[in-house]
Symmetry: C2
Subunit: 305 residues, 2 copies
């Protein structure tokens, strides 16, 4: 299904929605590196906060609430970007909690929009060619959030855990419902049915919804170990058909490479499969992340062709 | 002539262009008071500065240069306002010279856009129903600028005069050419042919260009002292026909009231002629300012009907 954003051939728009510390930045970073900043621009819609941290202290909601964000301006800016127009984007400084000087964003061939609420409204959803929801298990996300916010945002872990509890009702009401509007739902986490030791790299389950046309992977899985990776036809939560692609954290490099080549070959491109995917930050590589990024790269390039 | 902004019946757009300290804010204030903030919104497009005061110090142009402003974003925001959409407007703090947190502007029935460059581009001009250029004699404007910037913006008068000299080439290149695109050119100043004493209140000459349909004032001037006020058919700088309305600073209240009633009666409205016009700030009233504001009020109401 093509959306309003796809009417103009100029900008291909990808949304990556998910709760705080769900992995949006890590996923985005690999895509920007693969295509290069000349071709792809990323922005975070959490910059559309209506109130700064100080003002929010006296208010009955957290930053997750739509009323705490300029949703109408976010929609307007997404429409402008989809039509190839520049925007003057507000800026929220996560380190100080202040709203500061806005910055010019000029859309390139591809734009990634990540954040808490990019799929909140019908109008915002209509701006995207491809929509992703990151859905890690809550205990994994809490761990990621504590690690990040204590290391990079100057909070104590007690503060972060208290904030998570305070946000939970609004996560349930506004963030998680966006999952139902995503073309791809990505769940990084341990595979629950397996009893892997605690240091096992995270696996990924990707729900590939038929709302967009995914590459045909039915042929490739005869060649790979079905324990490391498999594709399973399921019914989604709403009863609709969906493909679930599982990539185990221990999937051998050669096997994930076979799947990557299968995805890439469907593009009919002569360019090389990018080597920069799957980077977790400290030089470690994740096969499930690499395959997730490659699938999104496939959709970006497919939508622009 | 109706412009693009007039296609949508929702927002009537008035531009007040002119150099720094030309009287834009004083003119705007009386219009906002007359209609009330529920019906009319004013904004200043000098907020679209691309660089803050510190950054400009190392640059080869002043704040008057289009390259020193987000002209494309200004155009975009003017179009959005003209179509009745809200904008998140950047904010330039004149007291500190810093670019700060943007603010939401929701268009009301009428929007006044004042500033240095609202008529700079064809696209920006197309957003307005009525366009005004303020054109005081340079020596008067210099005096106003020194008075204001020393009193309200913390500069010394030597600094202000040096800045005026530095800005002069860009005033000539970018600000003053906007005069040719205005429907109304307002020149507050002494009447040069008269030898009035120096404390005589300023007079006004209003060029009423036939680019919009002005109220018919040809009948009313038989009733007033031709020394205090008159309407004169002229050729404009480009040879085109234009009406010049002169209002002397000493025009008697009763006579300017006769002209005001003539303008107001053309609207066919039952509401009272507003009493708040012509205020110079310290309780003093200017008949030329009152008539200028009333004429603009006429055009605002006429364009919305």
């Amino acid at each position: 299904m093509r959306r309003a954003g796809a009417v103009s051939p100029r900008t291909v728009m990808l949304a990556i929605a998910g709760d705080s510390a769900a992995g949006k930045t890590t996923l985005t970073r690999g895509l920007v590196e693969a295509l290069g900043e000349d071709r792809i621009t990323s922005l975070c819609v959490d910059d559309y906060h209506r109130y700064d941290r100080q003002e929010r202290k006296g208010m009955p909601f957290t930053a997750l609430h739509p009323d705490c964000n300029y949703v109408e301006i976010m929609e307007q800016h997404l429409q402008l970007l989809a039509m190839g127009s520049p925007i003057l984007k507000p800026v929220y400084d996560h380190s100080t909690g202040e709203l500061t000087r806005p910055e010019l964003v000029e859309p390139t061939e591809f734009v990634i929009v990540e954040g808490l609420l990019p799929l909140h409204s019908k109008l915002s959803r209509a701006c995207f060619d491809i929509t992703v929801y990151l859905d890690p298990p809550e205990e994994i996300r809490r761990e990621w959030k504590v690690n990040r916010d204590t290391a990079k945002r100057g909070y104590g872990s007690d503060q972060v855990l208290a904030e998570l509890d305070k946000r939970e009702p609004e996560s349930a009401e506004f963030i998680r419902p966006q999952k139902s509007f995503a073309d791809v739902v990505v769940r990084f986490g341990p595979i629950e049915v397996r009893q892997d030791p605690p240091d096992t790299p995270l696996s990924a389950e990707l729900l590939l919804r038929p709302t967009i046309r995914h590459p045909d992977l039915t042929g490739v899985f005869s060649d790979v170990d079905r324990n490391a990776m498999h594709l399973k036809l399921l019914r989604d939560e709403d009863g609709r058909p969906v493909d679930a692609l599982h990539v185990h954290g221990h999937a051998p490099r050669e096997e994930s490479h076979t799947v990557e080549k299968a995805i890439w070959s469907e593009l009919g491109t002569e360019t090389e499969l990018p080597g920069s995917l799957g980077q977790l930050g400290e030089g470690t590589r994740s096969e499930p992340l690499a395959i997730t990024q490659l699938l999104l790269l496939y959709h970006l390039l497919e939508a622009s062709s």
